[in-house]
């Protein structure tokens, strides 16, 4: 199977260092180490498991800043075969419309059975890019996958899609775009073998012109459809009140507190 996974480097939440640049209110990507977006790792893991079961390769496609190759190394160490990084100064500050279009332009030239993406990113949280990419490419789109079962011979894929009441079983022809969730399973730690093998794997870089040819109008940060006009820290929470009393007394105080706050 040929599986492409969309991955995005995002600031590492654990570092707590995310911030916006005061000059233009764009995400300051230099401020914190970047890691592969957590949700994309589930997509990647799902892809790797599928190629282990059905044969084939997983390749990565990313649109990111030029420091991204380092972040992609981990994904390669997990077992992806190669990656394409679309990077260009003009793409900094791109909105979701532009991102979806650039990714779609790149993917149009690739052949794959499954295109996998993570549910949303921890740095923008939009979650609208995969749907946009599927629409632009005319691909069947299934989101919130808890299970992905392709039938390569029949050219179809069966997906369990999480629903408010449980899950729906959908069947799409391949190639299809499927959005992964955590329910697909824990991403593997890269093995030492994988880490060492990643040294010889390639990440091809492509500029905006490589991807979009001459049709770069309306793409990139300059064409962003929205802008941040202000940013501030939320008002600090009041100091924590600590109750160490025995359970019954503690419970009385909790209920009084909730009543005070008009929650009950």
């Amino acid at each position: 199977m040929r599986i492409v996974v969309l991955v995005k480097p995002v600031p590492d939440t654990a570092s707590g260092g995310e911030r916006l640049r005061p000059a233009d209110w764009r995400l300051d990507r230099a401020a914190t180490p970047a890691v592969v977006n957590a949700n994309d790792e589930y997509a990647l893991e799902a892809g790797l498991k599928l190629t282990e079961a059905h044969g084939g390769e997983v390749t990565l496609v990313t649109m990111a800043g030029s420091a991204a190759p380092e972040t992609l190394r981990k994904a390669l160490a997990m077992g992806a075969s190669s990656g394409t990084l679309i990077t260009d100064d003009a793409l900094g500050g791109s909105d979701t419309v532009s991102t979806a279009r650039v990714l779609a332009d790149e993917l149009r030239g690739l052949e794959f059975d499954l295109l996998l993406a993570g549910a949303d990113t921890s740095d923008g949280g939009a979650g609208v890019v995969p749907a946009g990419v599927a629409t632009l490419l005319g691909l069947p789109y299934v989101s919130y996958a808890a299970k992905i079962e392709p039938d390569p011979a029949a050219g179809r894929v069966r997906v369990h899609r999480i629903s408010p009441t449980g899950y729906d079983v959908l069947e799409a022809p391949m190639p299809a775009l499927v959005v992964a969730t955590q329910a697909l399973g824990e991403p593997r730690y890269p093995s030492l073998k994988g880490i060492m093998a990643a040294r010889s794997k390639t990440i091809q870089t492509r500029t905006l012109a490589d991807v979009a040819g001459g049709a770069t109008d309306g793409l990139g940060g300059a064409a962003a459809s929205n802008e941040v006009v202000a940013a501030e820290a939320p008002p600090p929470r009041a100091a924590t009140r600590v109750i160490r009393e025995p359970a019954d007394e503690a419970a009385r105080q909790v209920v009084a507190f909730l009543a005070e706050r008009r929650i009950i």
Partner: protein, 391 residues
């Protein structure tokens, strides 16, 4: 001649590898460390873990099933494991050390014969050079290998002392005197052989009871007419001493890595303790005398680490003064580990002296890094000679 200056940072894969080994060490080896020390039993489970995760494959060439890690990569792994358990870190360090003669001077056939199992961690190898009367004075070894003219085999007689993992190894890299007469120059008297543990005449006489690295069996080995074919000779006859010296160039950084790891582990315990322990109404970390100690411990450990990394880069690049780099990093790291672990015990006060906390074990473990693989005094000799040219 000058190429772009590489930045003083680990490459992506070295950093990824460091993180991967750290996770393995923290999750699966750290919980065993105290028990390994207490029971003084060789941790076969840890060895299996390192083998199955391909950690033991790091020092070996890809052509023979290894991961082709450079010296710095191997040292990063040793450091991460030693952070939680010096005995466990030594498993990788010894596997590298004792394989080096084979890697440096073995024939194609010899390498193909032994390296795959070593890389897979199916077999362990130990380095049998030291003797009761030949510690620092390597050339004074008395274990003899006599040629059987009829068959071309060698017969080895003698004994070795203080051989790390000598009782659990499947293979021994043995250095024996092959010089026929006393006129042969000291440095050409020895040759190197691979002896398999079930060779008749080979025996483990005793295991030492040690101050530290107690889970690593340190053995006295005896050879009584042990017969090895000439095909087991590594390198030329009389090349043994030179091979040993070339080996140390690459293996001393491994011990330095163990020492840096021990220091780092002790530092982390001490810093964590100082943050949590409250006296006089405040965490003791807020007291300047404690803070100063921790600061010195951190700075010294980092300095030892950076010297180690630089030494690895220089040695790997074939620097002509590799011996100097190797001796320096081992010298500084060993002394640092001793100092940092001693201070770690001090920071913990009474709690540092009892086995409720690991720092007393780390201090006992640290001492060996000033003794083996060449004592600190030998390292200083090497450095001084490189500096002044005096003999």
């Amino acid at each position: 001649m000058a190429t772009a200056t590489p930045t003083y940072r680990l490459t992506e894969d070295q950093a990824a590898l460091r993180d991967a080994v750290r996770i393995l060490a923290d999750e699966q080896i750290a919980p065993r460390a105290a028990e390994i020390d207490r029971t003084a039993e060789f941790p076969w489970d840890v060895k299996e873990l390192l083998a199955s995760h391909d950690v033991l494959a790091l020092p070996f060439p890809e052509a023979h099933g290894g991961l082709g890690g450079d010296l710095l990569t191997v040292c990063v792994a040793i450091e991460q494991i030693s952070r939680v358990c010096a005995t466990s870190g030594l498993i990788l360090a010894v596997q590298e050390l004792a394989s080096l003669p084979l890697l440096l001077a073995g024939t194609e056939e010899q390498q193909a014969r032994w390296l795959p199992d070593l890389a897979a961690g199916r077999t362990l190898v130990a380095f049998a050079l030291t003797e009761a009367e030949a510690g620092s004075d390597v050339a004074a070894a008395r274990t003899r290998a006599r040629r059987d003219a009829a068959t071309g085999d060698w017969l080895i007689d003698g004994s070795k002392r203080f051989i790390s993992q000598g009782s659990v190894a499947d293979l021994l890299t043995v250095f024996a005197v092959t010089a026929e007469d006393d006129d042969t120059p000291r440095r050409q008297r020895l040759s190197c052989f691979i002896v398999e543990k079930d060779a008749p005449g080979f025996a483990v006489e005793r295991i030492e009871h040690k101050m530290g690295i107690r889970g690593s069996p340190t053995a006295e080995l005896s050879f009584r007419g042990v017969r090895v074919p000439d095909a087991n000779r590594i390198g030329e006859v009389g090349q043994g001493f030179e091979l040993a010296m070339r080996t140390f160039e690459r293996s001393r950084p491994g011990i330095a890595a163990q020492a840096v790891g021990i220091a780092q582990g002790a530092l982390e315990v001490a810093a964590g303790y100082a943050r949590d322990r409250k006296q006089f109404g405040r965490p003791i970390a807020e007291f300047q005398m404690i803070g100063a100690m921790l600061a010195d411990m951190d700075a010294q450990t980092e300095a030892a680490r950076q010297l180690l990394y630089k030494a690895c880069a220089e040695i790997e690049a074939g620097a002509p003064d590799a011996g100097r780099w190797s001796a320096m990093c081992k010298l500084v790291a060993g002394d640092t580990a001793m100092r940092v672990t001693t201070d770690a015990v001090q920071v913990l006060g009474g709690y540092g002296y009892v086995d409720e906390f690991p720092v007393e074990r780390m201090m006992r473990d640290a001492k060996i890094t000033q003794l083996y693989e060449g004592t600190q005094q030998i390292q200083r000799l090497v450095i001084a000679r490189a500096l002044t040219g005096s003999r």
